[in-house]
């Protein structure tokens, strides 16, 4: 008796009207139809919503179905760590660091490991969440165990006739973590007015803007989704309703028709609402907020160290600081719209800002300042060649005494680089409709100074380049560069020489469009 009441209840849902409209989206869609005879109710729901989404948006990326197998890099690192544990404890500092890092790599082994081209790479990224949205916008740590190679300059010290055999012998002494590079990258996002640093104001505004867009969504679409979901929720209160994990084919046909109608109506209403919101976000230029944030003042600090076995080369350290910003950024928006209440006022202010600053946003001026310091440690190393010589050169008949060692000594090298880069689009394709119009004309200026005073192999240099790019056809652009170098040897080849240090260079790029 109860079962019949349940059937009557479910059937009444069909007769009552609303659920029947579900069929209008995919007229011939049916749960458990041919090819899906063993389908579960919940799978039918997924198939239907996926079909609706694909119908509107084209093919979607398939969902991931299985976790990837443990990467080879993890296995190799673990094996390496096991080897380290069974060998003698190293005494010198650099070896200790290498061993520690190899252990660290192993202990942190996870999906963040990659193994490619003979390199083991471990990377960890932390977003602003990790720092409470204050100051640091992101931090990444990367350790790369490179495939160790014998130092070229050291090999050059070995007599040519012995070089090949010695190289093979020295390569045999190399171990997996003999060339290890670690890098720490920290980024700071400029806060309001450039006086503070932090992600939080951007996030708060972004949420307020999103909620304002949601409020603007057609209320009927919202109401349809809510009511369709309520029908599914109500279905879950009836003991006669089949489990969503049961097969469609196992359900009484009269009940199945009602369940199907309710589920498909819900699927249609959910997808309709989701896609309506997605469209509205695009129409209100919500995603342009990302461009404003990208133009915010940003500061990057990168610290890196390369620890190498003496056979591979000297150790290196570097620190790089970059500052960049673009005009038409979030600071301007915040000045205009700060304090507006969520809702239409926020949306209107945002829209006005985009309209008022249209030219600035489409053709922003971007500036970047960089400073980098690099240091290569002094190097001193000798290779014992006696083993490789097999007794030869020990004063053979009438012969000279051959060298028994090959030595290389290098002084400490320091390098300081400073660079300024400015770029701006000057003219865009004449199309207001496009969000991302093609740049027809732009200029770029770069000035770079390198101080390598204590490197006997290199000279200090200062090179400046001003480039004007003009798109000349669909697939080609012409670039004219004015180049000036403080020393003639750094000016490079030019097409029109003004002096030993200055000239003009013309280039036609047929493959790419001018950068934005």
């Amino acid at each position: 008796m109860r079962a019949w009441i349940g059937v009557a209840l479910l059937t009444s849902l069909v007769v009552s009207g609303a659920p029947l409209t579900a069929q209008t989206a995919l007229e011939d869609f049916q749960c458990g139809d041919e090819g899906h005879e063993d389908e579960l109710w919940i799978d039918c729901f997924t198939r239907y919503t996926t079909a609706l989404k694909q119908g509107a948006n084209g093919l979607r990326k398939a969902e991931e179905t299985a976790d990837a197998a443990q990467p080879k890099g993890v296995r190799l690192a673990k094996a390496q760590a096991q080897d380290d544990l069974t060998t003698d404890v190293a005494s010198d500092d650099s070896t200790t660091k290498r061993d520690f890092l190899s252990m660290l790599l192993t202990s942190l082994a996870s999906d963040n490991f990659e193994d490619s081209d003979g390199e083991l790479r471990l990377a960890y990224n932390f977003g602003p969440d990790a720092f409470g949205g204050k100051g640091i916008a992101g931090l990444s740590f990367e350790a790369v165990a490179k495939d160790p190679q014998v130092f070229d300059q050291l090999l050059e010290q070995i007599p040519e006739d012995l070089r090949a055999s010695q190289k093979g012998s020295l390569e045999g002494e190399l171990e997996d973590f003999d060339d290890l590079e670690t890098r720490l990258h920290i980024s700071f996002l400029g806060g309001l007015g450039g006086t503070s640093w932090g992600q939080r104001p951007v996030t708060e505004y972004s949420t307020r803007l999103f909620e304002s867009v949601v409020e603007n969504l057609n209320h009927e679409i919202d109401a349809r989704e809510t009511e369709a979901l309520r029908e599914v929720a109500s279905l879950q209160t009836s003991p006669e309703t089949p489990s969503l994990g049961s097969k469609v084919s196992d359900t009484d046909p009269r009940v199945a028709a009602a369940v199907e109608a309710v589920l498909l109506a819900a699927g249609k209403a959910i997808v309709e609402r989701h896609q309506a919101l997605a469209r509205l976000l695009k129409e209100t230029n919500f995603y342009r907020l990302g461009d404003l944030v990208a133009n915010q003042p940003q500061l990057y600090l990168t610290l890196s160290a390369r620890n190498r076995d003496d056979l591979v080369g000297p150790d290196e350290k570097s620190a790089k600081l970059s500052y960049e910003f673009g005009t038409g950024n979030f600071n301007g928006l915040n000045r205009k719209c700060k304090g507006k209440p969520a809702g239409q006022a926020t949306l209107d202010c945002y829209s006005d800002f985009l309209t008022d600053n249209k030219d600035l946003l489409r053709k922003p001026l971007r500036l970047k300042l960089e400073a980098e310091y690099m240091e290569v440690d002094p190097y001193s190393f000798s290779v014992d060649l006696s083993g490789g010589m097999n007794g030869e050169g020990e004063g053979g008949e009438g012969g000279e005494m051959a060298a028994t060692t090959a030595s290389l000594e290098l002084d400490k090298v320091e390098k300081l680089v400073a660079a300024l880069t400015i770029g701006k689009a000057l003219k865009l394709e004449d199309s207001d409709a496009k969000d991302d119009p093609t740049v027809l004309t732009r200029f770029d200026f770069q000035s770079k100074y390198e101080d390598v005073s204590n490197d006997p192999m290199r000279q200090d240099r200062w090179v400046s380049t001003l480039t004007l790019s003009q798109r000349v056809s669909e697939e080609s652009s012409l670039a004219v560069s004015l180049i000036y170098a403080n020393k003639p040897e750094f000016r490079g080849m030019v097409d029109e020489e003004f002096s030993a240090r200055a000239g003009l260079k013309f280039e036609v790029d047929r493959a790419t469009k001018p950068k934005k």
């Binding site: 949205g133 996030t203 209160t237 969503l244 995603y287």
Partner: protein, 125 residues
């Protein structure tokens, strides 16, 4: 447990259990919008804004005997994103009912994600 479907389902949920919804994604990476609809009517519905379900915040709702529920979470990517949506049910004794579901979030600016669960209560329904 990684969800295999757009929507998953829970059954035989003990009355008094708590629905928990959270989205783990970097701040500024995505905007989220969640809805819980109850068979009991609009007064028992719940709408959660981005800040209410963005990790470490968790949207929580007590589930009552005799009711059915439908939960929907929409996510819109503002940047290149890697994260996950998590939906679970905690029994009155504090342990999980079944296994919490999670949906990976991966995409670029302008992308979106849709997921949810249907809930059928046990005992007294």
């Amino acid at each position: 447990m990684q969800a295999k479907r757009t929507f998953e389902f829970y059954e035989k949920v003990p009355p008094g259990s708590t629905l928990e919804v959270t989205v783990k994604v970097d701040e500024g990476g995505a905007q989220n919008d969640a809805l819980v609809v109850s068979s009991a009517g609009p007064s028992d519905d719940e709408t959660w804004t981005n800040t209410e379900i963005l990790h470490p915040q968790v949207g929580r709702k007590t589930l009552h005997a005799g009711h059915g529920y439908a939960v929907r979470v929409s996510t819109f990517f503002q940047a290149t994103v890697q994260g996950r949506v998590e939906i679970g049910i905690r029994k009155p004794n504090g342990t999980h009912h079944s296994t919490p579901y999670h949906w990976p979030l991966e995409g670029n600016q302008g992308g979106d994600h849709l997921c949810g669960v249907f809930i059928k209560m046990g005992g007294g329904a």
